[in-house]
Amino acid sequence: MLKQIRALAALAMLVAVTACATSAPRTFQGEFQPPADNSRILVMTPDVQLSVLTAAGLQEPREDWSVAGRDNLAAAVATLIRAQSHSTSSLDPATAMEGRVGQIIRLHDAVGGSILAINYGAYSVPTRNDDFSWTLGEGVQELAAAHNADYALFVTARGSYASAGRVAAMVGMAILGVGVPLGGQQAFASLVDLRTGNVIWFNVATAAPNQDMRETEGAASLAETLMRDAPL
């Protein structure tokens, strides 16, 4: 039992604590059309959940951080897109869960979850492992028509920040050979072509210590890492 706990804690360390920013973009493997100049890009309101990791190891949600992270990321991503001479609009998916558009948004959750699990996770699906050609199908044209857009960008972020007490606990526990997760943040992005439904680009980025999305500059830096290789 103890062995198991230690192994898992160590695993969490590996996953959650990364010293520098990392990014692992994947691009659609078939033919696709990167956004032409002046494309209209619908930026879905980012789904951000941040928490504080207390000294005792509890993760408590921090609504103020989540809201700040969401707003900062949304602004930073839109700025980057506009810098590439595209126009942006935004849509809060929570307001669009009805009808076929709601189905498309839910399907994106399922496809995004599958990408994370199969292309980025340890879940092997041989028919998909080496094949990045995910799609939502042509139903996305409903979303395009309803919101006057050519592409949609979905951004999700999860993570926690350690409290001061947590850092102290880590030092103490490390001596006992137990890894204490220090907290970490990851962001995911997917760019969907609203004519074909294809996920033309997907990325997962782990935030570096200076990429604190609760702050404007940190979010801008994280957004840049996240979007660096996007075909925009």
Binding site: Q103, D109, V111, S114, I118, Y123, P126, T127, G137
Partner: protein, 196 residues
Amino acid sequence: MSFTITRRAALWGAAGAALSGCATSSLVPQGSYTANGAFRVTLQRPWSDLTNYMMPRPPGVRLLSIDGPMLNRLYLATIDPGGSLVRPRDRDTPRPTYRADMGDTEIVEFIVDCVAVEFQSPESSALRPQNFGALPGVRFDLSSRTEAGLDIAGTALAARSANDKLNAMLYLAPREHYYAQLLPDVEAAFASAALA
């Protein structure tokens, strides 16, 4: 109270995380495929066999998929009387059970109730006689939703064999795009069924 719940959730999570590391999947080539040593179907393309990802795994059930279990599933099952398509974690939790003396509507009900273990309010439609290889069987369509509200469509073909086992094929996928995309392949698999 809260701690019991979170701790139990954590242990399950730990088990899941640990096991998913070891669970293996394999590629099923295009062509003839024999499921559970009981029946044969012809697959129009390669599929992934995700049977080992079902934990705990119900005996006699194979799970194939192209895009992962969230986007399409084809269950190929051969179930003994007293068996089920689903397997709860503990022995005592009741579950839908197949019986050798079930009529066609009962077989449909059994499959639909198994689907209801994971999906919301599944409903069967268009029940009709259709052969499963040489066996007289029952075919039906299905509609349901995930907990998150994603519409799921399905279709199934089932028949009892001479040794009282239930042979069944069940296809499930999101109604948006995915269901229709593989339906011709699934129809072909249904039509190609032959007892092994």
